[in-house]
Amino acid sequence: MTTATLHATPATAPSGRVFRNLLRSEALLAWRSGAAVFWSAFLPVAGLVVIGSISGTRTPQDGLGGRSVLDTYLPILMMFSLTISVVTLMPPGLAIYREKGILRRLSTTPVSPSRLLGAQATIYAGLGVLVSVVLLVVAVAAYDVRLPDQLVGFALALVLVGAATTGLGLVVAALAPSTRVASALSTLLFFPLMFFAGLWIPRAAMPSGLRAVSDWTPLGAGVRAIQATVDGNWPPVSSLLVMAGWAVVSGVVAARTFRWE
């Protein structure tokens, strides 16, 4: 007996085109949800403008290690944008995709649901990185902040902290059994992360013990590295290693524990 055979056409569509389409669709959805635009883009930029327009925020202060308030808060606002985007907003979004069977539907097509995961992570991390660059450009153009001499170091620090926070967001999405738990976890995670970034007590004003702890956290290391580049130095190697470590560990944990349905 002969057997029915598959068409001789290639089994999959060109993978680059598929990923571009997924990126476009995820970007559109993030835009329509509004939360990402407001919390991750509008609020940090507005924060910078408010700080910049208050008098005295551009003068160096001893209590801030000889930096101005604006210099101090520039990297913190960058961390705020990234963290809101990939730790607070992305995990519940992915949990919804799992809960509503969107990942399951995708797995009936020739496109793996991991591509959708990749597209969403790219969009949310990309938003945080893009806003960070915008913050730097605004600070340099409008508030006389020095352009980092070490632009490569700045870019490297930004990419590493982006990878570390995205990894954490994916771990939350992987471990949370439901969208509600994902929302709760990611909101809960936001506060200690931002605390060690210096949102409430800038790192320069932290007691040395607290600052040492901050050095080991992903955002503490991120602020330390970016601050160094704005100061005109190459980021400390230890801060880069801490961020890379968080990125690798969280990435592996997320990949091992992620449930598709």
């Binding site: 007996m1 002969t2 057997t3 029915a4 055979t5 598959l6 068409h7 056409t9 290639p10 089994a11 999959t12 569509a13 085109r17 598929v18 389409n21 997924l22 669709s25 559109l28 959805l29 329509r32 949800s33 995709y97 509503k100 069977g101 969107i102 399951r104 539907r105 797995s107 009936t108 097509t109 020739p110 496109v111």
Partner: protein
């Protein structure tokens, strides 16, 4: 002998989740161009079976051939040729119908023209509507469209009409027939008897993970005891023995003004002839024949809560 080989061949499929045996032993084959129904109570293993066919789950035992290929080892090839509509699989709430169709079409090497699907499925007026704003019926239409957008040779539709109102359900049935008319083989998973009877060329009845019967809907009904019941109002009084003595008649009962006659074989012919000879007219004559419903309940006779629920559903819609 037929020269076209089956498009799906399942041979002694088994699949367990932990200690729960979802599919115990399922063998069946689906021919090209037919609408093949998989019918069974909730939790009988229907969905697991089609999930194994579409490569979503790894089977524990047995073999599956979809268009000659194993869906487990040739995932991409099978997925490009098999469109699947899953139970309770949604889309992002803020994605529009147009965007969803264009996106999913781009996943396939040789997609269908989604604009034409839109016309066939009546989605035209909803193209700019976001998924979250669509009615249940419109969401199901989109779901069918997405299952067909890859230009598949086989479409697997799982519990397509569950949760739809009777009008939307009937419209969906017409759509499924139009899908078959496009030359697509349809595998329809359902627990609605009326749906199976109306649409399917052949049916596999599955219960507790095993195939109970495979036949045409008519064939399944014929397997039943062919007892019939006639009901009529006689135009004038007569003695029960007039009918009770007839060969095919088993019993005669009077309920209110009506006479109920049960029997096998040509009850109708015998009764009508006897009445005519006696000069009696049978007014409001009705013949009650066994339905697929009865056949199903006879086969899945243990009447689990799920089967009871199934029966209730069917009564509601008829």
């Amino acid at each position: 002998m037929t020269t076209t080989p089956p498009v799906i061949e399942i041979d002694h499929l088994s699949k367990s989740y932990g200690t729960k045996r979802a599919v115990v032993d399922v063998s069946l084959s689906v021919e090209e161009g037919e609408i093949f129904g998989i019918l069974g109570p909730n939790g009988s293993g229907k969905t697991t079976t089609v999930e194994c066919v579409s490569g979503l789950r790894h089977r524990d035992g047995g073999s599956i051939r979809v268009l000659g290929a194993d869906p487990q080892t040739h995932r991409d090839a099978v997925r490009a040729q098999v469109g699947v509509q899953l139970q309770e699989a949604e889309l992002p709430a803020k994605l529009t119908v147009r965007e969803a169709l264009a996106l999913y079409a781009s996943f396939y090497p040789d997609p269908a023209d989604w604009r034409e699907l839109v016309d066939v499925l009546g989605l035209g007026p909803s193209l700019g509507t976001r998924f979250g704003k669509l009615s249940g019926g419109q969401q199901q239409r989109l779901s069918i469209a997405l299952a067909l957008v890859g230009n598949p040779r086989i479409a697997i539709l799982d519990e397509l009409t569950t949760g739809l109102d009777p009008a939307a359900r009937r419209e969906t049935w017409d759509l499924i027939e139009s899908v078959r008319d496009r030359g697509v083989t349809v595998v329809l998973v359902t627990h609605f008897m009326q749906e199976a009877e109306r649409l399917c060329d052949r049916l596999a009845v599955i219960d507790a993970g095993e195939v109970v019967a495979i036949d045409t809907p008519g064939g399944l009904v014929e397997r039943l005891d062919t007892r019939q019941e006639l009901r009529f109002r006689p135009s004038q009084p007569f003695d029960d023995a007039l009918l009770g003595d007839l060969g095919p008649v088993d019993g005669v009962v009077r309920r209110g003004g009506e006479v109920h006659v049960t029997g096998t074989g040509d009850v109708l012919g015998a009764v009508v002839t006897a009445l005519a000879r006696a000069g009696i007219v049978a007014e409001g004559l009705r013949v009650q024949q066994p339905s697929l419903d009865d056949a199903f309940l006879a086969m899945v006779g243990h009447t689990t809560p799920a089967a009871a629920e199934t029966a209730t559903h069917t009564q509601e819609q008829s």
